[in-house]
């Protein structure tokens, strides 16, 4: 495994580690961006108005039970004929990644807005803020820690599932594991597994640090006092 990773020939070129890491991060970023565009507004709406709560909980639980590998294979087989050859694997795979990333983002956004101290909301209303200003200036910043932890969970899920999607010809680091298996090259599989694990850890760590920056200083002091 060490030998595989130390061989410079494995790092460059179209199937090299550099390209695979880039692809993996690209799929992850696209899936999270789309999932965020869907999940955050829905979560904010449900959290702010309290409408549709049961839908959110049911949706999240049902999706957790769906076997990701089955979903990827099914969507690729059903959707692949619809798209041009270059996109035949990428679009269905990213659709599955989005589908998996939406629930944690949505439920955490909703839970974050719900968990905001009602006194803070009352104070904002009392100061004359309109409902939308209350949502964006008070509820959203207060919910930020939970929203970000939703993104963090979603990111892990997406990185993990993008690895699995290499089975249906998606690029990324999963290629090393799937191709290594096909070629009976255990060193290659192991190298891929180590790289995927390291990528997941590094991305998670980075998001954790970003979270510290993105959370309002007022909330941080509060958290310290409470803890």
């Amino acid at each position: 495994m060490i030998d595989y990773l130390l061989d410079p020939a494995h790092w460059t070129g179209p199937g090299g580690v550099g390209t695979l890491v880039g692809e993996h991060l690209f799929y992850t970023a696209v899936a999270l961006a789309v999932a965020g565009i869907i999940g955050v507004p829905v979560g904010l709406y449900v959290g702010h108005t309290g409408r549709g709560t049961f839908l959110i909980a049911g949706f999240a639980n049902a999706l957790r039970a769906l076997p990701t590998l089955g979903l990827v294979v099914l969507l690729v087989m059903v959707l692949a004929p619809v798209f041009a050859s270059g996109l035949a694997f990428v679009v269905p795979s990213i659709a599955v990644l989005v589908l998996l990333a939406v629930p944690p983002i949505m439920t955490n956004t909703y839970a974050g807005v719900r968990a905001v101290d009602p006194a803070a909301v009352d104070a904002a209303v009392g100061m004359g803020l309109r409902p939308l200003r209350v949502l964006f200036s008070v509820q959203t910043p207060c919910a930020m820690p939970l929203i970000l932890s939703g993104f963090r969970g979603a990111t892990l899920q997406v990185i993990s599932t993008a690895t699995v999607a290499a089975y249906v010809s998606l690029g990324g680091l999963g290629r090393l594991i799937i191709d290594g298996r096909a070629q009976n090259d255990y060193d290659k599989m192991l190298g891929g597994a180590v790289l995927v694990a390291m990528l997941a850890l590094l991305v998670d760590l980075t998001l954790g640090l970003l979270g510290r920056v993105a959370v309002s200083p007022g909330l941080r002091r509060h958290a310290q006092a409470a803890g």
């Binding site: 957790r64 892990l156 993990s160 089975y167 594991i177 694990a197």
Partner: protein, 216 residues
């Protein structure tokens, strides 16, 4: 959908279902058995808590396919050995449940613990007879997440060839045949639903007082 195929392959599907059931349930039981003492340690010691919870977080970060591939070289097993899958899922379960058990024990009201102490319960007896039962709802909630996500993660092991319902997905992909894929997804969902129901039922059976509170 090709129902003839389902009829012909029923025995084989049943076998895969049993494997899937075993690979989902055994790690949850083993994981809970390990997480209870670890969660209790995390609940007791402050320094230990942050160390244990960060370690659990790190383990939970490792993608499942990577863990399935890494474990044989750690355990010295063959790559096709179902033990790898069972150990990987036990690791995920422990990582998830340590926090849950710790949160559950933290959620026991101080008055309850003091009342039990005043009634003469000593630490170990109090833990088993008072604190753990009161923590059951929180632990059961974590157990539901663990069992349902395990059912889904087990199927990923098909990519390295282990016996379970995930093989229906790889078979379907190789033959360009939808029926096994749909059968696999439906059975996985049914299994997750059934196991989730069992955990909910067990949680209620262990906490008869919550049913009364809910009805009132």
């Amino acid at each position: 959908m090709n129902f003839d195929w389902i009829g012909r392959e029923a025995d084989r599907i049943g076998e895969l279902l049993v494997w899937h059931l075993g690979l989902s349930v055994i790690p949850v039981v083993a994981g809970l058995a390990l997480a209870l003492p670890l969660g209790w340690l995390a609940h007791r010691g402050r320094w230990f808590k942050s160390a244990l919870l960060s370690a659990a977080g790190l383990l939970y970060t490792v993608p499942s396919l990577a863990l399935f591939v890494l474990l044989p070289s750690v355990l010295g097993t063959k790559i096709l050995d179902p033990v790898n899958v069972a150990v990987a899922l036990t690791i995920y379960t422990v990582a998830l449940l340590v926090r849950t058990v710790c949160d559950g024990l933290d959620s026991v009201p101080v008055e309850t613990v003091r009342a039990a102490t005043a009634m003469g319960y000593r630490s170990a007896h109090r833990l088993v007879a008072v604190e753990l039962p009161v923590a059951v709802p929180v632990i059961a909630a974590g157990l539901r997440v663990a069992v349902v996500s395990n059912v889904s993660i087990v199927s990923v092991a098909a990519l390295i060839g282990a016996e379970q319902l995930g093989l229906l997905f790889t078979q379907g992909a190789q033959l360009r045949f939808l029926t096994p894929i749909v059968v696999g997804i439906v059975l996985c969902l049914a299994l997750a639903l059934a196991l989730d129901g069992i955990v909910v039922w067990l949680g209620r059976a262990l906490t008869p007082w919550t049913a009364k509170a809910g009805a009132a």
